[in-house]
């Protein structure tokens, strides 16, 4: 018995461990986890590369100093050897020696990664911020190259590091882009553009109504109009609809009370009963009667749909339009309001039968945002690095498109200014790159549907025209 208990405890502990591990793994591979993983991977790479390459950099500084000393020794020898100094001879010899020195320096800079700092300089290319920037340029495939590994071990590690890091970073940036896209959409639709929200809603109502009309009553629009105009109850609903209009407009701006309102239900009841004077309203009545007292939104939506079908003629009829606007706006809260479930009867975004076109941010807004980001970065770098503005814009664009030439890199050693604050500039550059790439992926996320649609339309246009000729 005791053994059974013990075994049971063992099994329970094991399952608990497994569950823990599973949770940890799930968290690691979730959105946040991947981002955190990528960041720590970059830092780990920075540490490793810093350890590997610092020695070579210091050694290279020493080499260049040695070359310079050799050059001067040779020059002295040339000067000393000739008892009589003829200018032409001496100039030739010295010129030749200088040319050799030039070759070694150019080789040091281009091939050995020498950046011009003297042996005594405290700051290194391969400091931690510098190595962090390097790791980032590897796993984002930007690849500047001004700081590049020169040791064999560094090169091998770079290859391995990139093989794992590039997909990881890509995933992280995708997640970040997705998150940024949601934030952007939210702020755009809730903060920036109140007008277009209302406008969009009205136009979508018209669209939906038109679609439903042609779907259900393709040829009978004229008869319904006649019937509508003969009913006496036409005036009443329109009057109440005006009232409703005012009410709903108010409520539309106050997004808190849009979800459920008993008055709205009552008013829509009136509208439905008034439309029931139409002979095709039996279907609506049956739907309405099947409702229970705290009606689920779905059924109300269906009832309103039926009302829309039957009382619709042509969308140019204003009173009917306003009525539809009322019925629709009372039962269709704006799909992007996150205030749901006041008493559990609000439809979610997914229950809303209208297409999600309203949630697409227009392309020009996204483009403006990207351009703004690039300009802000350009200003920042042109001030911080003393570049001219075109250079800074060029840098930002080549960095964010991951081309990454590497001839202009923030935080690199500049002779003219001999600035010492390279470390902070490198860190700023890292942040700018990460956020910039996330912004690029965010914009791709936001506008890809538009681009795909346009593309399809263009390709369809290319093929449609001959087909029309055929038929």
């Amino acid at each position: 018995m005791l053994q059974d208990l013990e075994n049971h405890e063992e099994a329970a502990r094991k399952t608990r461990w497994k569950h823990c591990l599973r949770l940890v793994a799930a968290y690691l591979f979730s959105d946040v986890g991947v981002c955190g993983l990528a960041v720590s991977y970059a830092m780990l790479g920075a540490l490793v590369f810093e350890a590997l390459e610092t020695r070579h950099e210091l050694a290279e500084r020493e080499h260049v100093r040695q070359h310079r000393a050799d050059c001067m020794r040779d020059l002295w020898r040339i000067t000393n050897k000739l008892n009589v100094l003829y200018e032409a001879n001496w100039t030739l010899a010295v010129g030749g020696r200088l040319r050799e020195f030039e070759q070694t320096v150019v080789n040091a800079v281009r091939n050995e990664g020498y950046d011009g700092r003297e042996v005594e300089a405290l700051e290194l290319q391969w400091s931690f911020p510098g190595a962090l920037l390097y790791s980032l340029t590897v796993i984002t495939t930007i690849g500047y190259g001004n700081t590049a590994p020169k040791t064999s071990l560094g090169k091998v590690l770079t290859v391995l590091y990139a093989t794992v890091g590039i997909p990881l970073m890509f995933l992280c940036l995708l997640n970040a882009g997705h998150l940024f896209a949601r934030i952007f959409k939210f702020s755009y639709f809730h903060v920036l553009c109140v007008q277009c929200r209302q406008r969009a809603r009205i136009s979508k109502v018209r669209e939906a109504v038109r679609v439903m009309l042609y779907k259900h009553f393709p040829g009978n629009s004229s008869t319904t109009r006649n019937q509508q105009q003969t009913t006496d109850g036409n005036l009443e609903p329109s009057a109440t609809s005006q009232q409703l209009n005012g009410q709903v407009e108010q409520q539309a701006t106050d997004s808190d009370r849009l979800c459920t309102d008993n008055e709205e239900l009552g008013v829509t009841d009136n509208l439905i009963t008034s439309a029931s004077e139409n002979e095709r309203s039996t279907a609506a009545q049956s739907v309405v009667s099947s409702r229970d007292s705290d009606s689920s939104r779905h059924e109300l939506v269906e009832a309103n749909d039926v009302v829309l079908e039957e009382s619709l003629t042509d969308s140019s009829d204003i009173s009917i339009e306003s009525r539809l606007h009322n019925t629709n706006s009372s039962s269709f809260p704006p799909p992007f309001s996150d205030h749901t479930n006041l008493d559990g009867t609000c439809p979610n975004k997914e229950d809303n039968p209208r297409p999600k076109e309203e949630e697409r941010v227009p392309v020009y807004v996204v483009m403006l945002f990207i351009t703004g980001y690039i300009f802000v970065g350009a200003i920042m770098f042109s001030v911080g690095e003393n570049w001219n503005f075109i250079d800074a814009v060029y840098f930002c664009l080549t960095a964010l498109s991951t081309v990454g030439f590497g001839n202009l890199v923030p935080g690199s050693y500049d002779f003219n200014t001999q600035s010492q604050s390279a470390q902070t500039r490198l860190i700023i550059c890292c942040f700018y790159l990460i956020f910039g790439l996330a912004v690029v992926l965010m914009s791709y996320n936001l506008i890809q549907e538009e681009i795909m649609l346009k593309f399809k339309r263009i390709s369809r246009n290319l093929k449609i025209m001959p087909q029309n000729e055929k038929s």
Binding site: R22, Y144, G145, K349, K463
Partner: protein
């Protein structure tokens, strides 16, 4: 029945109108098919190459004069330094080593700093009049590195106009390149699958296929349980419970209701094993490494490092063929071959990605399911 009769008359009507003017119609269809084909496959390839050539001409025109200017400047600088050294030497009547060395050291140091600034500005150490960086092949390689986002940087625009044109060129060229790569990857993947499928029919006892068959046997088994005689047995709900991948659905439909252990899966979809794709990529990189290391005198490590960095579009630019400090004969050909290597390599990588992605996604999904991370419905975090 009446409907069918109506349909048949319609068809004959169209056929009748078709007989009236066949040649014009045929011409139009031909033209349309041709334009479609051009825009999709061959045309895209030609478009990319043409775009690169156009870019090469433009950049060469913009940057070559500046390069000459720069090379002249360095020569001037050197001569000025020599003159100043002469002045120092001449001024001192008695040459004390320490004095002289002290004065000369300062001059040399200044020369070095100016030289390094010039190198960072694009000077590559070659003599004036020697083969230039911004030759046609150099500019071609440069344009290619821009639109593939490799971005070596050993050759980079120094003039303002060059930078602006680079920006515009990249904005148009990078999507074009991506389009080209997806297209080419598609075609190559299809043809590779076809060839692989044909080759596989010659060897029916492939262990990998047997492994796959076992998996499908399991799925099949469930199908047989559910549908002894019905054709469209599986409802969508049942399919969800089986965690069926869209490809698996195809396989299920293709299976007749008998149980086979060794079915021919070539028709629905041949999936090339991941190892084969990896082998292809690694061998391409190694092949390039061998070639470039032989030419440039790099070691094999440096060569493979260069190939990997190039094909992953990282593109440091510290090692580039045809770009050594001493001007080489044949550097132009090297640049052209490097460009070709680039183009073909990226197409191959696109093909491998295309071939691998299903397998990788499947494996990751299986792995995740086994560990317990992934539940039945993925992407639970897309809800507002």
């Amino acid at each position: 029945m009446a409907l069918e009769r109506k349909r048949s008359t319609k068809r004959s009507g169209s056929r009748y109108s078709g007989k009236k003017r066949p040649p014009v119609n045929k011409c139009k269809t031909c033209c349309r098919k041709f334009t479609a084909f051009m825009f999709s496959h061959v045309g895209l390839c030609g478009l990319v190459v043409g775009y690169t050539i156009m870019g090469a001409f433009a950049f060469r025109a913009l940057e070559a004069p500046y390069e000459e200017e720069k090379a002249g400047e360095v020569t001037d600088m050197r001569q000025k330094t020599v003159r100043r050294l002469w002045d120092i030497t001449y001024d001192l009547n008695v040459l004390y080593k320490d004095n002289w060395t002290h004065l000369v050291a300062a001059e040399i140091k200044r020369f070095q700093s100016d030289l390094i600034a010039a190198v960072k500005d694009g000077y590559d150490g070659k003599e004036l009049g020697a083969v230039q960086q911004w030759s046609f092949s150099g500019a071609f390689l440069y344009s290619l590195t821009v639109i593939t986002t490799i971005g070596y940087g050993n050759i980079a625009p120094r003039t303002n106009w060059g930078k602006l044109v680079t920006i515009v060129y990249a904005i148009v060229g990078i999507p074009l390149m991506l389009l080209y790569l997806t297209n080419i990857g598609d075609i190559l993947a299809k043809s590779f699958r076809y060839v692989y499928g044909r080759m596989c029919t010659c060897k029916p006892s492939d262990p990998y296929r047997r492994g796959r068959n076992v998996e499908n046997y399991r799925v099949q088994h469930v199908v047989a349980h559910n549908s002894p005689g019905r054709q469209n047995a599986l409802e969508p709900g049942v399919q969800d419970k089986l965690h069926v991948h869209p490809e698996d659905e195809v396989r299920i439909e293709a299976i007749p209701n008998e149980l086979h252990e060794d079915l021919d899966y070539q028709k629905p979809r041949v999936s090339v094993p991941i190892t084969l794709c990896l082998v292809i990529m690694v061998s391409y990189i190694s092949g390039g490494a061998v070639i470039f290391s032989l030419w440039e005198g790099w070691g094999f490590l440096d060569g493979s490092y260069f190939c990997f960095v190039t094909l992953s579009t990282i593109g440091f630019g510290d090692l580039v063929p045809g770009d050594s400090v001493v001007s080489d004969r044949g550097s132009q050909e090297k640049l052209v071959i490097c460009s070709l290597y680039l183009l073909i390599g990226m197409a191959l990588i696109a093909m491998c990605f295309n071939l691998m992605q299903e397998e990788v996604i499947n494996k990751v999904r299986n792995c995740g399911r086994r560990v317990g991370i992934i539940k039945d419905t993925d992407d639970d975090d897309d809800l507002a």
